[in-house]
């Protein structure tokens, strides 16, 4: 008997195997909307899958969403799971989402760092990086959000392989990063790139590698503020909005800086909620409230992208 998508508990954390298996059930349940595509393998040879939500057409403008690039931020892929199900189940009943999917595709990478994610389940719950070997060092892994070709090796990234923010030997050295870069480049028609992290309740736009304002700052800031207003409207969760450099600190080699410099104007990064007591150990009963409020902001951004073609 085929498993139904209803059998998964979205209010719980899951292993990589369960998440990958659930993707198949989602595809089975919504065969005319959802496909699962392998975009490559991780360092430890695990497949990396994107869920593609598409109603057809060729090379339509697309929106990218990735979750779980930092492996210990469990609420991020958990939110991704809920969101993927929301997109699939609301298509056809939510007029706005339906119109969006009638003109654009959505790509979701729910486990952007599969090796790290598995490692947090088996060896070290606090692991953040990839699991690649570093030549000449006993320390493993690279911070996959310091490894993109955007001010690579600049401020806010470490040269030490033992650091949690080690940028790696060269830009896109991490296969997990390169797989995404290759897909985005070969597709060539992404209009928005959204990376979901946890925690600290921020919605950010480029840049992180410099404190110089991006050309589209006013527009991105306005979108971000409107999006977080909607997010806040649900449970009162307070978000700050701004560019990475000013709102957190200079951080070079980040994904949304790369996507913006590649020409994807609507590039954003979320830092999801924390209750102020648990950090990366956000209790599972917070997953659905987190995902639900985040959806309001995500949807606002996606609708804006749909309505402002470029």
């Amino acid at each position: 008997k085929k498993q139904s998508t209803r059998s998964i508990n979205f209010g719980a954390y899951h292993t990589l195997e369960t998440i990958y298996s659930w993707m198949d059930t989602l595809v089975t349940q919504y065969p005319h909307l959802v496909t699962k595509q392998e975009i490559g393998k991780s360092y430890e040879n695990r497949p990396m899958y994107v869920l593609k939500f598409s109603t057809g057409g060729t090379n339509r403008p697309a929106i990218w969403i990735d979750t779980g690039i930092h492996s210990r931020e469990w609420v991020s892929p958990a939110t991704g799971l809920w969101t993927a199900n929301k997109i699939a189940s609301d298509f056809g009943s939510d007029a706005s989402l339906t119109s969006l999917l009638n003109t654009m595709d959505i790509y979701m990478l729910i486990l952007a760092n599969p090796d790290g994610y598995v490692y947090t389940h088996t060896n070290d719950r606090m692991w953040r990086k990839t699991r690649s070997l570093n030549s000449g060092s006993l320390c493993r892994g690279v911070d996959p959000n310091r490894n993109w070709d955007a001010g690579f090796g600049g401020p806010g990234a470490s040269t030490s392989p033992c650091s949690d923010s080690y940028h790696g030997p060269f830009a896109h050295s991490e296969i997990e990063v390169k797989n995404v870069v290759d897909l985005i480049k070969s597709h060539g028609n992404f209009k928005s790139f959204i990376s979901v992290h946890a925690y600290s309740q921020l919605l950010m736009y480029p840049y992180g590698y410099t404190c110089t304002d991006v050309a589209d700052k006013a527009e991105l800031d306005s979108i971000g503020r409107a999006a977080t207003q909607k997010l806040t409207s649900l449970y009162g969760t307070y978000y700050k909005v701004g560019n990475i450099c000013n709102i957190i600190y200079p951080a070079s080699g980040g994904s949304i800086d790369w996507s913006y410099d590649t020409g994807i104007k609507y590039s954003f990064a979320f830092e999801l909620r924390d209750t102020g007591y648990y950090g990366f150990l956000l209790p599972s009963n917070q997953i659905i409230p987190t995902a639900t409020e985040t959806w309001l902001a995500l949807k606002h951004i996606m609708e804006y992208v749909r309505d402002h073609p470029y």
Binding site: Y13, H14, T122, R125, M126, S200, K240, Y249, G279, L281
Partner: protein
Amino acid sequence: ERTFVGDQVLRITLQSQEQLRVLQSLEHEEEWQLDFWLHPVSTDLPVDIRVPSSSLSTIKEFLLTHNIPFTVIIENLQELIDMEKTEMEENQK
């Protein structure tokens, strides 16, 4: 499997630029093996640090010496991890 018995997470709400500078200097302190969950970036945002049990008394003393107030948001990290694991196993069943 790595364990975190007795590790605590401290939350620090910075009140001055001087305190910010003091905490930023801690980021380069390797001996205490601090894990910054939220980095010291401004007085507007809190700082969360996972402190290994072996460094707890030293870091708390350091903060008190510099008049930097803190609260313990996680008393024993391993307890939370164990609870999370148990819940996941039950859910898997």
